[in-house]
Symmetry: C2
Subunit: 190 residues, 2 copies
């Protein structure tokens, strides 16, 4: 998506060779117009698959996932939570997710009420790096007996291998911007 790549080049900042900071428009301050257009692009890329639900993970995946669900005809959106809040009393599906940035492992959970057999689920996330978060969401779909139609990522860091791992599981992966290198502070796209 050219508008997104242009914006990454204009406003993205590299921290070392692994981290691309895009908090001016993607994950702290949100460019709502750009996000709405990303949602339309996801709707186009995943049309015709019978998707009836969008699943993301808190926090920064939510705006793009909301925009995709809105563009796909106001589908229900579910966001997986990273810890069990005191008000979640029902049974949950859960999967461990490792954060390479923070060096931690958290459990992501989704209430059993909101995903089940018969659902055709689109996963959306802001970043696809090692594929840990998306792998956790995929595992939750598997536990629920739901079909996972694919993963839409806003920014993929291809050299970290997540997309390849997920495609090996049979998942359709589409990223709006695919980065092949952040070496020497220079952002390179596929």
């Amino acid at each position: 998506m050219q508008e997104l790549k242009d914006r990454i080049l204009k406003d993205g900042r590299c921290l070392g060779t692994d981290i691309l900071k895009v908090d001016s428009f993607l994950n702290h301050q949100i460019d709502v117009g750009l996000t709405a257009r990303m949602g339309q692009e996801f709707a186009r890329l995943f049309s015709g698959l019978g998707i009836n639900k969008v699943l993301t993970i808190e926090t920064s995946g939510i705006p793009a996932a909301y925009a995709a669900a809105h563009a796909m005809g106001d589908l229900p959106l579910v966001f997986a939570k990273k810890t069990s809040p005191s008000t979640m009393v029902d049974g949950v599906y859960s999967a461990p997710v490792k954060s390479f940035t923070k060096g931690t492992v958290s459990n992501v959970i989704v209430s059993r009420r909101y995903i089940g057999p018969g659902d055709v689920v689109l996963l959306i996330d802001d970043f696809l790096a090692h594929g840990e978060a998306a792998g956790g969401l995929y595992e939750i779909c598997r536990q629920a007996g739901a079909q996972c139609a694919g993963l839409g990522a806003v920014i993929e860091k291809k050299y970290q291998g997540g997309a390849e791992k997920l495609r090996e599981k049979g998942l359709k992966v589409q990223s709006l911007a695919v980065i092949t290198s952040l070496k020497d502070g220079k952002i390179e796209f596929e």
Copy 2:
């Protein structure tokens, strides 16, 4: 907002006298169509105030805040974070926020890059109870020298007094559904 009140009566569940569980449409699974209409209602309630930015707090405030920012002409949306992630290297504004549900105090932070003098900020959150989260966001606006145009809450639990406290600070508060009691599992609106 009648559609919202009807939905709360249909799908909300009371946990004791303090907690209203609405995770089937507001804060775990999201009804995207309803959320878009809530955004339009916030845009109507806060029109003509020169608002140029929407501020919320992660996580469950994000969909309604996104919808409001979209309905107000794709304004920038900023979400305050509850902990300092390792990638946030710049200076931040911060304020303590107490959670009565969880019995904890967390720091909410916003990068100094994204709010400043000249901004006219609308606060949006999913729940208004004791007013702690909104009070923290208001304090961040004050630190940034920004004008705070008001607070839009999806659900206000009036008997917990948050709206009154915020109005005493001069804040315009508008809630889409105002609950006066959850006694005996019965939801009563103003």
